[in-house]
Structures are given as structure tokens and as C-alpha cells.
């Protein structure tokens, strides 16, 4: 709960350094910003309790998601990647997906409360990108599982544990990392709150504690979403270390990936919704074709 705003502070300092600026006075600045927003009066067009309730619900779901991810990696009998062999894996994976979609749904509900046109445009942009991202990622999963399960009748973990499949492991992570990056709503996909064109867009009506809660929520969401590929990597490479060490590796790995995502976002500009739609499709199609190519090369020609 403490790490995401701290990481954001570090990211802001790195960004400032790259851009030849001094940046915030300390890496704790994001925390100070959030705390200050909490101390402000609540001004709202709608009932303030609605925002607080909805944001709290979203925050709770995020924390449940983080607990599940932690449980998965500390559980020595983990079965998440053993598709086709246990029903627990489907249960856990479905739970993660349902939680992420629920969080997005609650956030969308908060945005649409306002009749502000900037907010409405912002939320439709966010929904478009989320739907596109989720649909393309699910397409990849369906293709991957149907090919693997039908042909080999083995679990993903068995497939990945095979020595020859290292290239396949790498290409399997590309769509996952891509999906995570887009979900983290960084440039070029931060269209829902593009400040110069939409005056903060979907969050334009939020201020004071509601805005503070939103920012905190958003940063935790970004961190937890970033931790998913790291969790998967740990599971794939799991040895016989102390499970608590995995938690440490999880946070360390997530922090590194989080800052890496930050670095990528400094080098790009903001997309446009029609361009975003095209680029997301193209990136996923490229990733899926690459995966199929490597799969065919590894298992059919060899």
C-alpha cells in the first residue's frame, strides 16, 4: 500500500532528470500530494459520499486482487498455470479477470456520474481502449490454450518447463506485458484524462479527498496490474526457495518493471483514439502471429 505512490515519486524524479529538470523536491512528493488532497474540503456536483463509496469499493477490490496474487506465489502447491489439469487454475484466473473488469467498471461508473462533456468523452475513450485491450488479450489466450491443449494435452507449466521452449516462453510474455502496459494507462494510451485537450477528462469533476482517493487508487491499480506479468514469471521459473522470498522478488520485479514502463512512456507522445485502436490491434496481431510462428517452429518442424 505504501510502495505505489513512492514509485510514482521515483518515476517523477527520473522523468525530471531525463528532461533536464529538477522535478519534485523528494521522492515522497506523490504521498505529500495525496495527503494534502485528503486534507482539503470536499466540493462536488454529485453527492460526495457516492465518490467516496465507489472509490473505496474499487480500492478494496484492488487490495483483494493483490492478496490473491500474493497467495498464488507463496502457495507451494500452485496450480495457476496448470490449465487442463485442475479446475482451481481456472477459478483463480477467472477471479483475477473478474476483479480487473469490476475495478474498471466501478471507475467508469464514477466518471459517468458527471454530465460534464469532457468527462463523458474521457470515459468513452477509456472504455474503448479497455475493451480493445481485453478483447485482443483474451483472443490471444484462446488461441494459445486451444493450440497447446488440443495438440499436446499438457499443461502450460509442463510446456514451459521443456528446455526447447524458452523462445516460446519469451513470446508468450509479449502480449501479457503489452496488455499490462496498456492497462496501466500510460502514454500513449492516457487518452481518458488528456489534460491539454480534455482538461483532465474523466476525472475533471473530482477534487479534494475524492481526487486524492482516485490518485491513490489509480497508482495502486497501476502497480498491481504491473505485478501480474512478474507473478507469472515467478511461477514459470519457480524453484524451491522460501515462499516469502518470492514476495520480495515480486515487489522488486514489479518496481523494476513499473519504472521501465515509466521510461518507455517518456519517449512517446499521446495517441489519438482512432490511432490507438489501430496500433493496439496491430501490436496484438503481430504478437499473436509471432507466437504462432515460434510454436510451429518449436513443435512441428523439430
Amino acid at each position: 500500500m505504501f510502495i505505489p505512490p513512492l514509485l510514482d515519486g521515483i518515476e517523477r524524479k527520473i522523468k525530471a532528470d531525463i528532461q533536464s529538470r529538477v522535478g519534485p523536491p523528494t521522492v515522497l512528493q506523490t504521498w505529500y500530494d495525496i495527503l494534502k488532497l485528503f486534507s482539503k474540503e470536499m466540493v462536488s456536483q454529485s453527492k460526495p459520499t457516492f465518490f467516496i463509496f465507489a472509490l473505496s469499493a474499487s480500492l478494496t477490490l484492488l487490495l483483494i486482487l493483490s492478496l490473491i496474487l500474493t497467495y498464488i506465489i507463496v502457495n507451494p502447491n500452485n496450480t495457476l498455470l496448470e490449465f487442463g489439469t485442475t479446475s482451481t487454475s481456472f477459478l483463480l484466473l477467472s477471479l483475477i479477470l473478474v476483479l480487473i473488469i469490476s475495478i474498471h467498471a466501478i471507475n467508469s461508473l464514477i466518471y459517468t456520474v458527471s454530465s460534464n462533456p469532457f468527462s463523458i468523452i474521457g470515459v468513452f475513450r477509456a472504455l474503448t481502449i479497455d475493451l480493445m485491450n481485453e478483447a485482443m488479450f483474451v483472443s490471444f489466450l484462446v488461441i494459445m490454450f486451444s493450440l497447446v491443449i488440443n495438440r499436446n494435452s499438457v499443461s502450460i507449466i509442463q510446456l514451459f518447463s521443456h528446455k526447447r521452449t524458452i523462445p516460446l516462453i519469451i513470446v508468450s510474455y509479449i502480449p501479457l506485458v503489452l496488455s499490462t502496459y496498456i492497462s496501466s494507462r500510460r502514454l500513449p494510451y492516457d487518452l481518458h484524462e488528456a489534460e491539454p485537450e480534455l482538461a483532465s477528462g474523466s476525472i475533471i469533476e473530482l477534487s479534494g479527498p475524492a481526487l486524492g482517493l482516485y490518485i491513490y487508487n489509480h497508482l495502486i491499480e497501476r502497480y498491481i496490474v504491473t505485478s501480474i506479468p512478474v507473478t507469472m514469471l515467478i511461477l514459470a521459473l519457480m524453484g524451491c526457495l522460501n515462499p516469502l522470498l518470492y514476495v520480495l522478488i515480486l515487489h522488486l520485479g514489479t518496481s523494476i518493471l513499473y519504472l521501465l514502463f515509466g521510461l518507455i512512456s517518456f519517449t512517446v507522445g499521446r495517441s489519438r483514439i482512432d490511432m490507438a485502436f489501430k496500433t493496439i490491434s496491430l501490436l496484438y496481431i503481430f504478437a499473436i502471429l509471432l507466437w504462432i510462428g515460434v510454436y510451429i517452429f518449436e513443435y512441428i518442424y523439430r
Partner: protein, 561 residues
């Protein structure tokens, strides 16, 4: 110049004479690049039609003036330019009636629209054949008070105008409010502007601009100041390109009074004008990249710009509002040490800027969102008499430095940077190339700067003379018209490039994506008045604190409901 000499030894400009076919008026002057004609209002339409038939004629500015106390009439000055002939045609139309009336030119010259509305607002001139409405002045300005008429001094106007802010607050039941910040929304630049975008999905169907949020009355203020005080006021018209205004004003007075300005002063003015262009273009490019979400490029461009600001301080003593110009020359010289340092800084700026632009323009999102967006055709640019990079980005090679050379530009070869695609990328690339061009020009000016005086103080005022001063500002042509008075300018008319270019923005916005609207608005590099106003209203104590002259927004409080 194509000339001929008559039997009395008078020299005639044949190009100028050819322009006068069909003109029904008295020719006052037709040499030295300016053709001045006095035309009766009844013959105005016919005359303008005859001039416009020459092709490639554009409206540079129009000024209305109350000259009842000296000539018994109001007067309209229409200034047209013909780039290819490097000629300026000034049509003077006296309106000798208590209720001044003139025919509208809107059906012949599209760009006249705002000028006529402004003349109606500020001087009460009726233009027959068109609808006129309150344009520049706030809607609660008293009717029948025309501020630029000589009947009112600036102090009279301040007493006459009482903003109806408390009544408005009660109308909208805002008694509970303590502080009301007034100011329209700033979609692109942090200046007072107001655009209404009519949007279907993410596409802009149409757009409307409401301007003149802050009318500062600078022209009226200048009529109460001495000739050498006005350059300092003129420089405050704009916080980015103030030097072009003081230069333009000084040139207008020097032109009216035929003052010989020392060559060295011309060179110094030209150097500073180019430095101003570099820092203005760098500022704009930074803002454009910010609007495209590429903040890394934005920060680095502004880092480079900082060196240019330091350079301006080195040469003039100030980062901005240099206070360098006076009528007749400049106040500060550039010595050899400063000149060498200037060349060194510019070399570094040029090198770094080149690398940065190559990287920035190749960022996929930046490239994709600049290319093909905010399209403006050459025809539209011509018919609206657009100026500066906005015109040059649509393939119109219009540049005052080449077409109507002033200061030291008559000694160098300025080739206008022209891109013909008409999109945001074209306008961006015009500015990018102009940065390099300006660096080269400064180098040329420094190398060829002659020795000598920097100011001519030996001049006297002759009232009743009219002069024009124009400068190619970073945003396009700035043009000032001065009619001299005994101690102060009798009438001082300022026309900024944004005034000329803004009517093109709604055209550019049509069929653009909403996401590209801020960049498209910014692509003309608009420079609205740089001063927002705030009125603090405390209804509990029933007191109003006016932080400055309380000029209310045109839409009043309804705009923030």
C-alpha cells in the same frame, strides 16, 4: 523599379501607375513602394474592385480615425499589399457626416470582416449592407459611447464604464459565492480565449470563436503619451514578441516624419527581431509537443530556448520587454565581445536544436498527429489575407522581410520558408526551418554591421502626417499606422498577426478530430491579449475589488454557469 520620367523631370513608378487603372480618386503619392489614393465613399466599392482585380492583393490592415478636429471628417484607411510588386496601396476615405457611413467591402474582401465590426464598435461607423453587432467592447458597455472618438479622454471612459457585475451575480443567484474567478477556458494556450466546438463523436463539425475577452484600450492610451514613451507601451502589447511592436511603431513614426535612421540601428533592430523569432518559435514548438503529449521534447526545446533568453539579456539587458527602441534608432549598442558571444551561443543552439527536432518529429505519435490534421487550403489562406507561418504553411510565399523590406533586411536575401501541404506538420516545419534561417541571418547581420551612430535625435514633429510600419513577427506581419499629432500620435492603429489569422481557425477545425483541436488552434501560434482579469466579489460585505480595469467577458457570467 520600373520607372519613367516626364517632361518636368518627375519620376513615376510604372508598376504603381498600372495599378491605378479604374481607380476613381485623387492620387496623393505613387512612389517609394506606397501608392496613396483619396477616394470618396461613393466610389470606394468601385475602386477596391479595380484594385483587387490585379490579383494577389491582400488586405494588410484597416484603420478608422476620428479626424473631425483637424479635417472635419472621420477617415478610413484601407491598406492593401501586392507582394509580387512589393507595393502598398493606401486608400483614404473621408466620412464627413455626424453619422459616418461607408459601404461594406465584405463581398469583395473577406478579411475586412473584423475590421469593420471593430470600427463600428470603437468609432460608431456604420457599414451599409451588412449586419453589425457588439464585437470588441463588453456587452454592458454604454451604448453611444465610442471610445476612440476624440470626445472622450481615457479618464472619461473610466468614469463612464461601470461593469454590471453585482446585478449579473444577482440574476444568476450567485449571492452565496465569495470569489468568482472570471476567465474563459484555455484549451490550448494559457491565455483568454473561447472556442465553441460542435462535435459529433470525436469529429469537430463546426467551430465558433469568441474573442476580445480583454480589450486593454492600448491605442487610446498611446494617444496621451509622448512619441518616445509609446515604444515602451507598444512593447507590452505582447509578452512574447513585444519588440516587433515597438519596432513597427517606431518605423511608422519614422516613415511619417521621414526620419533617417542610422544604418547600425537598423542592423541592431534586425538582430534582436531575429532573436525574438528564434525564442518565439522554440516556445511554440515546445507547446506543440506538450499538446501532443511528448513532454520530453517540450522540456528539452525550452531548455534550448533558455540559452536564447540569456542571449537576449546579454544584448539588451532584459530577457523580455527589452526597452531598446526609440523613434530614430536604438538605445543600446552591440560591441564586438557581445557579438562574438552571440555567434557562439547561436552555433550551440543550432546544433542542439537540429538533433532535437530530428528526434521529436520522428516520434510516431507526433508525426501521425501533425500530418494531415488542421488542413487549410491555399485559396482560403489567400482569401482571408493570412500572414506568417500560417500562410506559408499553405503554400503562400508571403514574408514582409522580402516583400516590403525594412531595417537591415533590404541588405540580405530572405527566402520565405514555404510548405504547401497546409496541415499542422507544414506549419510546424515552416517554424523549424525559420529557426535555422534566423540563425543564419543573425550571423550575416553581425558580420556586415557597419560602424556609426545608433540613434538620430535630430527630428521634429510635423502634425497630420501618416506613416506605416510593418515587421514580420514570428506569427506573421505586424503593421502599425500612425497619424502624427503635435505632441503625441493623433491616431495609432495596431494590427497583430493573430487578428488576421484567427478567422482561419474555424476552417482548420472542421472535420478535425477533437484530440487534434488544441494543436490546430495553437498551430497559428495565437497570441491573445496576455492579461487575464480577476474581479473579487464579496457579497456578504457587498464590496467589489477590481484588480484592474474591469472589462467583463463578452458573455458575462453566463459563460461560467
Amino acid at each position: 523599379m520600373n520607372t519613367s520620367i516626364d517632361n518636368q523631370g518627375n519620376i513615376y513608378d510604372n508598376d504603381a501607375l498600372s495599378l491605378l487603372k479604374g481607380v476613381k480618386g485623387e492620387v496623393l503619392e505613387y512612389t517609394s513602394g506606397i501608392v496613396r489614393i483619396r477616394v470618396h465613399p461613393d466610389k470606394l466599392l468601385e475602386t477596391v474592385e479595380a484594385i483587387v482585380k490585379n490579383g494577389e492583393v491582400y488586405l494588410r490592415t484597416m484603420s478608422a480615425s476620428d479626424e473631425r478636429s483637424v479635417e472635419g471628417c472621420y477617415k478610413l484607411y484601407y491598406v492593401f499589399g501586392i507582394d509580387k510588386l512589393r507595393k502598398t496601396i493606401v486608400i483614404e476615405t473621408p466620412l464627413c457626416s455626424d453619422k459616418p457611413q461607408a459601404p461594406t467591402l465584405i463581398n469583395i474582401v473577406k478579411a475586412i470582416d473584423w475590421y469593420e465590426k471593430e470600427a463600428h464598435d470603437l468609432l460608431g461607423i456604420e457599414f451599409i449592407g451588412r449586419r453589425l453587432y457588439r464585437f470588441v467592447l463588453p456587452e454592458d458597455w454604454p451604448s453611444d459611447v465610442y471610445p476612440l472618438r476624440k470626445d472622450y479622454t481615457i479618464h472619461d471612459l473610466m468614469k463612464l464604464y461601470k461593469p454590471r457585475i453585482i446585478e449579473r451575480a444577482k440574476e444568476v443567484e450567485a449571492e452565496a459565492a465569495v470569489i468568482i474567478p472570471i476567465g474563459p477556458y484555455h484549451p490550448a494556450l494559457h491565455e483568454p480565449e473561447y472556442f465553441e466546438l460542435y462535435v459529433r463523436g470525436e469529429k469537430v463539425v463546426d467551430a465558433r470563436y469568441v474573442g476580445f475577452m480583454v480589450h486593454r484600450g492600448i491605442e487610446k492610451l498611446g494617444e496621451n503619451m509622448k512619441y518616445d514613451q509609446v515604444p515602451f507601451l507598444a512593447e507590452r502589447i505582447c509578452g512574447i514578441c513585444g519588440f516587433v511592436h515597438s519596432t513597427s511603431y517606431c518605423q511608422a513614426v519614422e516613415n511619417a516624419l521621414k526620419i533617417d535612421v542610422p544604418e547600425r540601428a537598423h542592423y541592431i533592430r534586425s538582430i534582436i527581431l531575429e532573436i525574438e523569432r528564434i525564442h518565439s518559435h522554440l516556445l511554440w514548438l515546445g507547446v506543440a509537443l506538450h499538446l501532443l503529449g511528448y513532454d520530453t521534447g517540450f522540456m528539452h526545446i525550452w531548455r534550448i530556448r533558455e540559452d536564447v533568453m540569456v542571449l537576449a539579456e546579454l544584448l539588451t539587458g532584459s530577457r523580455k520587454t527589452y526597452g531598446l527602441n526609440l523613434v530614430g534608432g536604438v538605445r543600446r549598442d552591440i560591441d564586438i565581445g557581445k557579438a562574438n558571444k552571440c555567434l557562439k551561443i547561436l552555433e550551440d543552439v543550432g546544433r542542439e536544436f537540429k538533433q532535437l527536432v530530428e528526434v521529436s518529429v520522428s516520434v510516431p505519435q507526433v508525426k501521425a498527429r501533425l500530418k494531415g490534421t488542421g488542413y487549410l487550403s491555399r485559396n482560403d489562406a489567400e482569401s482571408l489575407s493570412l500572414v506568417g507561418p500560417t500562410a506559408r504553411g499553405s503554400g503562400l510565399a508571403r514574408d514582409v522581410r522580402r516583400d516590403y523590406p525594412y531595417a537591415a533586411y533590404k541588405y540580405v536575401d530572405v527566402k520565405p520558408v514555404v510548405y504547401s501541404e497546409g496541415d499542422n506538420l507544414s506549419r510546424t516545419m515552416v517554424r523549424v526551418d525559420e529557426v535555422f534561417q534566423s540563425i543564419e541571418l543573425i550571423r550575416e547581420f553581425i558580420e556586415n554591421m557597419p560602424q556609426g551612430d545608433i540613434i538620430n535625435k535630430d527630428w521634429e514633429v510635423e502634425p497630420g502626417r501618416v506613416g506605416i510600419g510593418s515587421v514580420e513577427a514570428p506569427r506573421g506581419e505586424v503593421i502599425h499606422i500612425v497619424r502624427t499629432g503635435k505632441y503625441s500620435p493623433y491616431r495609432w492603429r495596431v494590427r497583430t498577426p493573430t487578428y488576421q489569422n484567427l478567422p482561419a481557425v474555424p476552417i482548420m477545425l472542421r472535420e478535425t478530430d477533437l484530440a487534434d483541436a488544441p494543436l490546430t488552434i495553437a498551430s497559428i501560434d495565437p497570441c491573445f491579449s496576455c492579461t487575464d482579469r480577476v474581479i473579487v466579489l464579496d457579497m456578504r460585505t457587498n464590496s467589489v475589488k477590481e484588480i484592474s480595469i474591469a472589462v467583463f467577458t463578452r458573455r458575462g457570467l453566463s459563460s461560467i454557469r
